[in-house]
C-alpha cells in the first residue's frame, strides 16, 4: 500500500499517462499525495485518468503532450507551474506505439528506428531540459521508465531494447551532471501487465501461463499497485541518496543487473 503522504504537496508530471504503466504510475503518485499532471496525446483517455484520480480524492490535471514535439513538452511543464506552482518530479514513460511489435532487423525500415528514437530518446531529452529549471530550484528528480530489454537485449524488439539501453546511459550520465545541483536521476525497469499484453493473452491461449512461468512471483506486475509504489519510493525522500540507478521491478524475472 502506498504511503498517502510520501509525496504530499509535490508536483509530478507523467508522460504517456493515459494507459498501461503510465496510468498506473499517475494513480500511485496521486495516492501518495502528489499533484499529478497527466500528459498524453489522447485527451479523452488522459481526462479519464484525471477523473479516476479525482474520484478517489486525489489531485490531477491534464496537459495534451506529444513528447516528440518540444513545444508540447514545454507547454506541459508550464501547465504544472500554472496549475500547481512548479514541478518536483518529471517522469518520462511514453514509448512508441510500435514498441510491442516484433521487429526483424534485417527487414526493418529505418523509419521505424526514427519513431522509437523520437518518442523515447528525444522525449527524454526534451523532458529533462524542459523540467531542469524547476528540478534545480526544488531539489527535484527525473525518472525514466526503462525495461529489462534495455539491460539484456531483446530478440524480438531490437529497437525497443536499443532505446531503453540508451535511456539507461542517459540516466547514469545525467545523474553525474545534475547530482551537484541536488537533482536525482533514476530509472525504473518494470515487468508489467499492459493493455497490449492483456490483448495478446486473450488471443493467444496459453501465452499467459507460458510467460508467467518464468517469473518467480508467477505474475506480471500491476502498474498501479506493484510498479507505482516503486516509482513513489524512487521519487520520494526515502530515496534521497539514490541517483544514477536502475531499479528492476520484475517479480524476480531479471536478476542479472
Amino acid at each position: 500500500m502506498t504511503d498517502a503522504h510520501a509525496l504530499a504537496g509535490r508536483v509530478v508530471l507523467v508522460t504517456g499517462a493515459n494507459r498501461g504503466v503510465g496510468r498506473g504510475l499517475a494513480s500511485a503518485f496521486a495516492a501518495a499525495g502528489a499533484n499529478v499532471v497527466v500528459t498524453a496525446r489522447d485527451e479523452v483517455a488522459g481526462m479519464q485518468v484525471v477523473d479516476e484520480i479525482t474520484a478517489r480524492g486525489g489531485t490531477a490535471c491534464f496537459a495534451r503532450c506529444d513528447v516528440t514535439v518540444r513545444a508540447d513538452v514545454d507547454a506541459a511543464v508550464a501547465t504544472a507551474g500554472a496549475t500547481f506552482g512548479g514541478l518536483d518530479v518529471m517522469v518520462h514513460n511514453a514509448v512508441s506505439v510500435h514498441s510491442s511489435e516484433p521487429c526483424e532487423l534485417a527487414a526493418a525500415p529505418l523509419e521505424l528506428w526514427d519513431e522509437h528514437a523520437a518518442v523515447s530518446l528525444r522525449g527524454a531529452y526534451s523532458c529533462a531540459v524542459a523540467a531542469y529549471p524547476h528540478l534545480r530550484d526544488r531539489n527535484g528528480c527525473l525518472l525514466l521508465l526503462l525495461s529489462p530489454a534495455g539491460i539484456n537485449g531483446s530478440m524480438h524488439s531490437p529497437f525497443y531494447a536499443a532505446v531503453k539501453g540508451a535511456q539507461r546511459a542517459f540516466v547514469k550520465s545525467l545523474s553525474r551532471e545534475w547530482g551537484p545541483e541536488g537533482i536525482r536521476v533514476n530509472g525504473l525497469a518494470p515487468l508489467a501487465i499492459t493493455s497490449a499484453l492483456e490483448h495478446a493473452f486473450t488471443v493467444n491461449p496459453g501465452m499467459q501461463e507460458r510467460l508467467t512461468r518464468i517469473v518467480p512471483l508467477r505474475r506480471f506486475g500491476d502498474p498501479a499497485t506493484d510498479i507505482g509504489p516503486a516509482a513513489v519510493f524512487l521519487c520520494g525522500d526515502d530515496a534521497r541518496y539514490v541517483t544514477g540507478q536502475t531499479l528492476v521491478v520484475s517479480g524476480g524475472r531479471l536478476t542479472s543487473l
Binding site: 532487423l105 530489454a149 531483446s154 540508451a166 546511459a169 540516466v171
Partner: protein, 209 residues
C-alpha cells in the same frame, strides 16, 4: 596465421581504434575491405568502429540544442542500424562475426557526455538484441569495450569524468593496439560461444559485472 581467404570489413579506418584493427588484421593476412559493396562473396568479420564525433565536445545536457541531441545521440544509432542491415547478407554467407566498438563510458555514465553515452549504449543494446536474433543464422555478434581514451583524445573533448576509474594495468593494456589484439582473438570460430557479450579492454578498470 590467417584462415584461407578470410575477408573482413572495418567501418572507419580513420579512427584510432579502427585504424589499429585494420592494420592488425592485414598483418595477420586478412583481406580487409572498407565498403560492404566490396565484399560480394561475403564477410567473415565486420567491425564497427565509427566514433560519434557530433557528440563532442563534452558539454552539459542543458546546453545541447535539439539538433545537437539528434546528431549526437540518435543519428549514431541510426547509422549503426543501417550498417548492420547492410552487413547482414554478407555475414550470413560466411556465418561471420560482428564486432561493435563501444567504450565503457556508456556502461558507467559520464558527465558532459549524455548524448554520446546514450548513443553508444543504444548501439550496444542493439548488438545484444541482434546477437539473439541472428544466432540461429550462424552470425556471432560481440561488443568490445575500450576505455574512452583509446577512442578519442579525452583531454581534447572538454570537461568529462569519463575516465575517472583507474585501470589496474598500465596504459599499454588499453591502447588501440590492445583493442586490436582482442578483436583478432575474437575472430576465432571458438569465440562463437561468446555471442552477445561485451568484452572490456580497459586495463582492468570497470571490472563489471
Amino acid at each position: 596465421m590467417s584462415r584461407p581467404s578470410e575477408v573482413a570489413l572495418v567501418s572507419d579506418e580513420d579512427t584510432q581504434v579502427g585504424g589499429a584493427i585494420a592494420h592488425a588484421l592485414r598483418a595477420a593476412g586478412v583481406d580487409v575491405r572498407t565498403e560492404v559493396d566490396a565484399a560480394p562473396d561475403g564477410l567473415d568479420l565486420a567491425v564497427y568502429s565509427r566514433v560519434a564525433r557530433a557528440a563532442f565536445p563534452a558539454r552539459p545536457l542543458v546546453t545541447v540544442d535539439e539538433q545537437g541531441w539528434i546528431d549526437g545521440a540518435e543519428q549514431p544509432v541510426r547509422d549503426f542500424v543501417a550498417w548492420m542491415k547492410a552487413v547482414y547478407q554478407p555475414l550470413a554467407r560466411r556465418r561471420g562475426t560482428v564486432v561493435l566498438i563501444a567504450p565503457t563510458a556508456s556502461q558507467e555514465g559520464a558527465a558532459g557526455l549524455v548524448p554520446y553515452t546514450a548513443a553508444v549504449e543504444g548501439q550496444r543494446l542493439l548488438a545484444k538484441s541482434v546477437a539473439r536474433q541472428w544466432a540461429e543464422r550462424g552470425i556471432t555478434v560481440l561488443t568490445v569495450a575500450p576505455r574512452l581514451d583509446a577512442v578519442v583524445d579525452v583531454d581534447a573533448i572538454g570537461a568529462t569524468d569519463a575516465t575517472r576509474t583507474d585501470p589496474s594495468l598500465g596504459a599499454d593494456s588499453y591502447e588501440p593496439d590492445a583493442v586490436a589484439r582482442v578483436v583478432l582473438m575474437l575472430r576465432d570460430p571458438s569465440a562463437r560461444v561468446l555471442t552477445g557479450t561485451t568484452v572490456p579492454v580497459d586495463g582492468g578498470a570497470l571490472l563489471a559485472p
